[in-house]
């Protein structure tokens, strides 16, 4: 009976893992890259001279820019400069002639207060959004990502149940033994970072829980979801003077000083100004993401922007809310310093590799049954092609996206979308190639292509931009140099993998055909 249970879990682990493996591989790889989103953003805009600025100075720059460019906007949103990415990101709604508003996003230098002139590129934002929205429209991508996350949860737990000798096997690695080595690797990767895998998977469900598990909100609040959010973070809209008469706003640095008086040492992540320029203007200061582990979206202190009085203080944070916020914050890891961030990244890659080794094993086990056959069954060919395109093809696409950032003409219209198009076109090409060659030759060619592209990234940075390694290394600009160096490092790893595949192919050919000398001798007899 117990053995039956374990077998059932092994079956579930195998098939759930296969069906969602490729999607999960993509989600985990892009998610791992997202831990370096700010650095990738800096790397993607090499012409920008990033300068650090203090919060008051930076808020004054933001206010000056918005008062000049968006005086009549109903709302301003200021994403504060961060030491990892010292630029202000400003959002405001611009009402056009037809009356329909469109959201404008501008990146502003916190020191000069001028709009940053940089190449049109999404940089790290692309991986970040892809990680949970999969380039699908709202809310479909989030639903699909949440479904994949739940399947990951099921696969992880069924995998733990299947795998009885959890800690003994962690110290077992038998390299060079084919299928056995893949299993050892899969288990070691799984057990090594198991707390990370469980945390990252469960927290991803918690992040979107109000969307995916809303039954208790609907029941407790009679279908009024807004009432639930208002109880957590009392709404500020409609407070104070409702008259639309004009009134000068206090400078944001002065309001920030009031905020500091309420929240000593408080770092600001975001400032949102409602009805700027009117008598009922308010400014909401939201704590910086990553100032602590927990992340509770929606909180903050709201001040009357005309007289500086407190409209809404910091909300209390009862334990359940802090637990949920803790999961959210741990998932994003924005609080992590450089060492912990690298650990996050490596753990994310370990999860990606765990999924990858699982996919390889699924196919390897079934190919063994058809070892002698010249034609593989159709379904194994398809899985083989999806394995190749889903893993190496994705790496090719990421590498091509980075190369496109360096190579596409700066004046190209819709340049950022073209970068994304390059990503998907290369991924599609990889899939077609993989369907044509789902075997060793396909792996060799795609691994070589990915390695070549990644190795060329630092070269392109050197010659196509002013911030190649020859500049960034002496300056100690580790954000930009780090991306170039990491590309080179991963390029070398992929080249080593390609070499292994190539040598194995040579070995297999040598075993199939008897050595030449022997054949000649036979003919002589």
């Amino acid at each position: 009976m117990r053995e039956g249970f374990r077998q059932a879990m092994a079956w579930l682990h195998t098939w759930a893992g296969l069906l969602f493996g490729w999607l999960l591989f993509a989600i985990f790889l892009t998610g791992s890259l997202t831990y370096f989103r700010q650095e990738l953003n800096r790397w993607a805009h090499p012409e920008v001279l990033y300068q650090q600025a203090g919060t008051p100075e930076s808020l004054a720059s933001a206010q000056a820019f918005l008062e000049k460019h968006a005086p009549g906007a109903p709302n301003w949103l200021i994403i504060a400069a961060d030491e990892r990415l010292p630029v202000l990101t400003l959002y405001y709604r611009q009402t056009s002639e037809s009356g329909r508003g469109s959201l404008v996003e501008t990146v502003v230098d916190p020191r000069s207060g001028e709009a940053v002139q940089a190449r049109d590129s999404r940089g790290g934002e692309f991986f970040y959004r892809f990680h949970y929205e999969l380039e699908m429209g709202y809310p479909w991508g989030r639903w699909l990502a949440s479904l994949a996350a739940f399947v990951m949860f099921v696969t992880l737990v069924s995998g733990i149940i299947t795998h009885k000798k959890l800690f003994k096997d962690f110290f077992t690695f038998r390299p060079g033994k084919g299928q056995r080595s893949w299993l050892d690797g899969h288990n070691a990767l799984g057990v090594l970072a198991l707390p990370f895998h469980l945390m990252i998977t469960y927290s991803s469900l918690v992040i979107f829980m109000t969307m995916t598990m809303p039954a208790s909100i609907l029941s407790r609040y009679d279908g009024n979801t807004r009432a639930f959010f208002n109880e957590l973070f009392p709404a500020t809209a409609g407070m104070g003077d409702t008259a639309q008469r004009q009134a000068p706003m206090l400078p944001l640095p002065a309001l920030y000083a009031r905020y500091l008086a309420l929240v000593p040492g408080g770092q600001v992540g975001m400032v949102s100004v409602d009805k700027p320029g009117t008598a009922s203007a308010t400014a909401t200061f939201t704590p910086k993401v990553g100032a602590r582990v927990a992340y509770l979206p929606g909180g903050g202190v709201t001040l009357n922007a005309v007289d500086g009085s407190v409209v809404r203080g910091l909300a209390a944070e009862p334990v359940p809310q802090r637990v949920a916020g803790g999961f959210y914050g741990m998932h994003m890891g924005r609080f992590a310093g450089p060492v912990l961030r690298w650990l996050y990244f490596i753990s994310g890659l370990a999860a990606t590799a765990m999924i990858g080794t699982g996919l390889v094993m699924w196919l390897g086990k079934r190919l063994l049954k058809h070892a002698g056959a010249t034609v593989q069954p159709f379904e194994l060919r398809v899985v083989g092609a999806l394995n190749l395109a889903g893993m190496v093809g994705l790496v090719c696409a990421v590498a091509a996206f980075l190369c496109a950032n360096r190579l596409l003409p700066l004046a190209l219209a819709g340049r950022a979308s073209w970068e994304v198009r390059v990503f998907f076109l290369v991924w599609l090409a990889s899939l077609l190639h993989a369907l044509w060659r789902p075997n060793g030759a396909g792996w060799l060619q795609q691994l070589s292509a990915a390695a070549a592209m990644l190795l060329s990234v630092p070269v392109l940075s050197q010659f196509a931009t002013s911030r190649g390694l020859a500049v960034t290394l002496p300056q100690g600009d580790w954000a930009v140099a780090g991306v170039d160096l990491a590309c080179a490092g991963f390029g070398l790893v992929l080249a080593w993998l390609a070499r292994r595949v190539w040598r194995r192919a040579l070995q297999a050919r040598a075993e199939q055909a008897p050595p030449r000398a022997v054949r000649i001798k036979r003919e002589a007899h």
């Binding site: 059932a8 079956w11 949860f153 109000t210 809303p214 009862p318 359940p320 949920a324 379904e379």
Partner: protein, 101 residues
Amino acid sequence: MKTKTSGVPLAYRLAVTSRVVAAALGGYAVAALASVCLAWVLPMAQAQGVITSMMLGFVVYLAAALWCFACRSAWRAWAAMLGCALVLGVLDAGLYWAHLR
């Protein structure tokens, strides 16, 4: 529709499909109804109870989904899901009604 390449009988395929649906939809229904129940009974402020219930909902979903594949037949999976959903549904309705009075 039995394919000739794999000797898997149709009944088996249908049973697997049935279990998948029971786990995905039935399991979700049980999880959602359980979270509603928790949100009513947890001794916390209303919104905090709701947050806790949503977080625990995924654990219920996981347990329900695993059960659907661990039990002996697809029928049993459905029986468990529908049984739990029925009990929880009655409980939820009772709690909601008691609250209205």
